[in-house]
Symmetry: D2
Subunit: 410 residues, 4 copies
């Protein structure tokens, strides 16, 4: 249980902090201005491409791709461990609209690249993984469906049916992150190839669907508490109406969809949680700056007991969360995702709700400004709150973790 | 302490429920569709004017204007008591985008009409109150400022300076609700006429500023968690740069601003809280409908203990809130705003946070749909959450209520 | 929905407040001193009998016994409604160790007297109800069992078997309140006469068992967070080992036990909840007195924001609770227990946990004194906390209330 | 940041777990039985001495005394680091009445021994430290006073006045843990030698007062939610009325009391928090055992969603707490108490309230049994709850931690 940041981690942290100070933070206002002038809100502000180029130049690129479990991290990326990447992900969470993309470390591309690296054929890797690693295109992961509780994969309604040398796909998906961006050229679609199969975990498969395939319609942008999340390519509703692709687009084997989805989860949870912790740190900083500069009823907010309580409780909570996520990363590196199962669920339960709570206090401290577009707090809150639902609501993970705990006594 | 709904109230409730069923709920989808086709998002969908005409025809018009404290309710409106109006306000809260406007009972116009009825000169009433009562124009109340903790009125930075027969106004306001709508023709502006005055509660005055007065700029729409609140005319940032109006535009006397602001508060709190309760009832209904129709892990959500807990706790909370708000309305009718001071603060503290909590549970139960635009829950949550800040953050009211409680033992 | 205190209620409140000031509060210290000198901790301090005599002399006696639903309140007691008695119960909650007993209004005797008045034979009323009404003896209600989740009456393990002219009772009960007191001469025992009966709600019966019946053993005093609750006769574990009583001791008919238990619940919930509200008021008073008299870090606690928050939130919560309990009492008076079903559950869910929360804040404000025997707060907290379990844990009532709510949409 | 348990720690953990299984858990029932037969509740059950002898024989003795900061751990004890001792303290928390005493690692003796080892003269160490290390006597630490908020040391009212070759001590203390036990032979008393001194942190001194010194009266046992805590020697009120001791009994120098008190705090916080975590683990185990064995409404409690939520949230919370405490121990070992200041406060804020919350859920799951003496839950809850007040209430630590956080932005 050694979470110390080793020399390589410290070096990368130093480089990343410098990049944030010199390029990312200054770009925040520029990007907002450029966005206002874009033809479409889904286009990318030019400064983002400049950030990407600079990050790549500095070697801060594809840091997420670890060597774990046969992931060819060194071949494709920086070859870090989860524990080494985790504190870097935290830093990118301090500017979540720009930094992850700048480093080519943004969801859902990260999970998709891992998936292709691990399960893709050589052809698939050539055609999709390489441009993704180069930051030339983006990708989507189409799992969630509006009609069913799709956190339970046995409920998936989309059908993937074999027809000669092709598969034909029919279904409706929503909250497909990134898919509003025209740069998103490839969809990984989860559906059922064997809906009546005896083993409910072998009914699903995953398949690659290029954006321009006939029958695939990106219908509309779903909102998150009023936000459309333009920087990340939004969250689309996508209709697949008899979409036909060659059978070679299947990822892995028929019936392997559930297992691939499970394998995809672990590292992404670390990334999300560490970025959330970065967001919490930014919230605490904003709270403190407000508290020392704003006066009500004759004294600075920071001298008022209720505000002190908020700040103290936020600090205490963040310290605990970070240790738990780091331990989980370390476990994944040492005993694998399966051995870290309880911890991966634990961070999924604890982090979004705790960070959302901290952001809510920060909003309260900022008054009307807190809910406005002049501070990042309301939008960050919406993101954190939504992560209590993404990948399954809290309650699904609580149920699963409790059953595992109870099993020791049955 | 008699909160029973008398015969007149029951009659009006029946009429209003019929109007909701026959006109308002069916108009919700129509309005959304019309809005998509408007030239400006700040224009009003035609169906809203139809609803207003129908409500007026049915006598469901200006119901908010009570007879209390010399308010000429019978002259101008339905002449109800606060206790009679409260359950009607709750009903309008079930469709908060349309119903209050349809009945000419939407904030901030209601408070502004009360204010003009009570403190306006005959000329002011003629020129501004009458078209407001007729629903021909809308109005704004410009108090909150971005630079200061303006829940403490002694912090107000805007200046109202006498210059011959005029006043000249300079300042910056934000979150001025309704002001993005072109129908909003008149601003009631709070500022200081005597910033160095010895009595900090006599430094402020209120003054009428027509929208087209040179120097008044509606700069931008402020957001609330990503929402712009088009139906209510948004929340504007407004700059007043040497705005000159005749001295006759002053409301009441110089130094009377603080007292007028206090007088304006009471009924509006009842309205907000009862509408919030209506929103909570809609949330409970949506939770129940979802719980009986959606299945996860082999049984309907409504048979799962956690969901039952959410529903039960929501029901228990709403019953308590409603009684407290009704008691407060009854107190205002019988002993006046001053006698209801503690209760007015209590409902301000309790209602937004409790209702926001209920809405949050409803969001969670709806999964991705909960945060989306396909259910009203996320937007209602944002509205309820923001009311924990409007008219001063919770903490200001807790402080004040506690000091009053402590005074009995000092 | 008229909860106003009528003239009779105000008169009784005045008389009761005077009795509290003149006799009950002064007796608190006396009783403590006398208790230290008693031969057994289960004996009654002499001052308690003096309080009873004085209360009876003043007509403050058996106030709990209402006229509702055929309860012969006027014949036996003061003939109040639930709504009239409720504010009196609140007042007795301010001194919960002495006041309810002084007025012959203490649980479980009150419920037992109601039960005998409503379901007892003339002989049973003569032999047990009359001395209870006179305050000469006390009684117990033996329902809860250690081995099963007895909030679900179908789980009851105790057997009541007919044997000629007798019934023979075998089982184990615990937390039988009052039974440690030697004055407790009669037990009402719930058991199964027809354990295999088709209708699970007709398997149970209730029967009277005098304390001195062979086979009945009061085994030990159960504790509640370290307290033994001497003033109320404690909470006993009771073993019934082949206890034989004449068949005439059965209450009502065979199979009527469940229905009688249900009928017994309603008024008792009002009493408990109003006494809890009285306890909350005493806690707020103690908080305020401490806050104005104690200084830390250079200013009185009452000027510190966190303390203000506690006091404000406590006041806001208590106002809501009281209204809900009064409404429930009023409903029971006007539409009966069945019509008040949801509200009776709602107050059972809301009151103990809210009041326990207030008491916990009061403990915190008193530092070490808060957990000590020098203030009543810790002991009151233990009582309030335990009421989240008595008559079924919160979760049982939440489940039941939610199912009723959901039924409207099924 | 390496919290791994090294080989020595694992070895000791194995030995301690064996000792728990073979001796401590079996002794729990024996001790309860012996206690019932003791002449005084403050005497020690014989089995405790047997446990001590056995622990000593096994080398599980004085494990708490670290080498940190000149503490002569190796000379007097096992010479462990804080990080090595922490997991052992957790294990003792699973049987908190017996295990810490059995290992001579019980508060307040541990802190007193550290204090004497660090600040005592040779004579003081000879006379008091040696018999303490041998487990022959016990000791008390007399700081808390009933009249003042003594978490703020400037409020201390006790006076220590020089009179020739003696000091004369006058004051009143309460919640002096251990002092009810006749084995407690020595008191370390905090008082003011220079009450008017300019530096408020140099007014206090500490002095040794043998129990039999004239003028020292152990007046009564203070309670904690009804419990007297016999196993730990209770919590006494102690009056010092002109108590005279030789000047050589002073610890350190005049005016050094505040600094010594600060130095005493760190390790004790680790011990308390780790024992609390052990208590939480026992609570989770009891919850799980109950959940798999008890049925309500037709299925085991463990299959009910609310119970799953409690268990999952408890597990998630404990994992975070443990990591934070281990990190704090590691910091104390590597950068000292001062460098670990924020973390020491953080664990003080987080651990008692979180563990009390877990215990409360466990109580709820056990129904009436939960509040009874038949399960350890209620008593453990009282202990955890009280630790939110011991060494200063949560709010004092929140305030201090927040001020430190804010200082970075001032």
């Amino acid at each position: 249980m050694d979470f110390a940041f080793d020399a390589r981690t410290e070096e990368l942290r130093g480089e990343l902090l410098a990049f944030m100070d010199e390029h990312v933070y200054p770009a925040e206002a520029v990007a907002e201005e450029q966005r206002a002038a874009l033809a479409s809100p889904w286009d990318t502000p030019p400064v983002v491409e400049e950030l990407k180029a600079e990050a790549r130049r500095r070697g801060l690129w594809n840091l997420f791709l670890t060597n774990q479990h046969g992931l060819p991290g060194e071949e494709y990326g920086a070859g870090l461990t989860n524990l080494r990447y985790a504190p870097l992900a935290e830093i990118t969470g301090r500017s979540p609209q720009l930094a992850p993309t700048a480093l080519n470390c943004a969801a859902p591309d990260t999970g998709n690249m891992e998936l292709l690296a691990q399960f893709g054929t050589e052809e698939q890797r050539k055609r999709w993984l390489e441009p993704l690693l180069a930051g030339d295109i983006r990708s989507a992961f189409a799992m969630t469906e509006p009609e069913v509780a799709s956190s339970d994969a046995t409920n998936i309604g989309t059908r993937i049916e074999r027809d000669g040398a092709d598969y034909v796909i029919t279904g409706r998906k929503w909250y497909i992150s990134g898919a509003m961006s025209p740069a998103c050229e490839i969809f990984i679609v989860m559906g059922k190839t064997d809906p009546e199969g005896a083993d409910p975990r072998r009914q699903q498969s995953m398949i690659l669907v290029p954006r321009d395939t006939p029958g695939l319609t990106v219908r509309r942008a779903m909102r998150v508490y009023g936000y459309e999340d333009h920087y990340h390519g939004g969250h689309a509703e996508v209709v697949l109406d008899g979409v036909r692709v060659p059978a070679t687009h299947l990822i892995g084997e028929e019936g392997g969809g559930f297992a691939i989805a499970q394998a995809r989860l672990g590292p992404g949870r670390i990334h999300h949680c560490m970025r959330l912790i970065g967001m919490a740190e930014r919230a605490i900083e904003l709270m403190c700056r407000r508290a020392v500069s704003r006066t009500a009823f004759g004294k600075p907010l920071g001298q008022q007991g209720v505000v002190q309580e908020w700040i103290a409780d936020s600090r205490v909570a963040v310290e605990q969360l970070r240790l738990l996520v780091l331990k989980t990363a370390w476990l994944m590196d040492t005993v694998g995702n399966r051995g870290a199962h309880t911890e991966i669920q634990a961070i999924k339960i604890a982090t979004p709700r705790t960070v959302a709570g901290i952001l809510d206090k920060a909003v309260q401290l900022h008054g009307a400004g807190g809910v406005s577009q002049d501070f990042p707090l309301a939008e960050l809150w919406a993101a954190a709150r939504t992560l209590r639902l993404a990948d399954g609501p809290d309650e699904v993970h609580q149920r699963s973790l409790a059953r595992r705990e109870l099993r020791r006594y049955a």
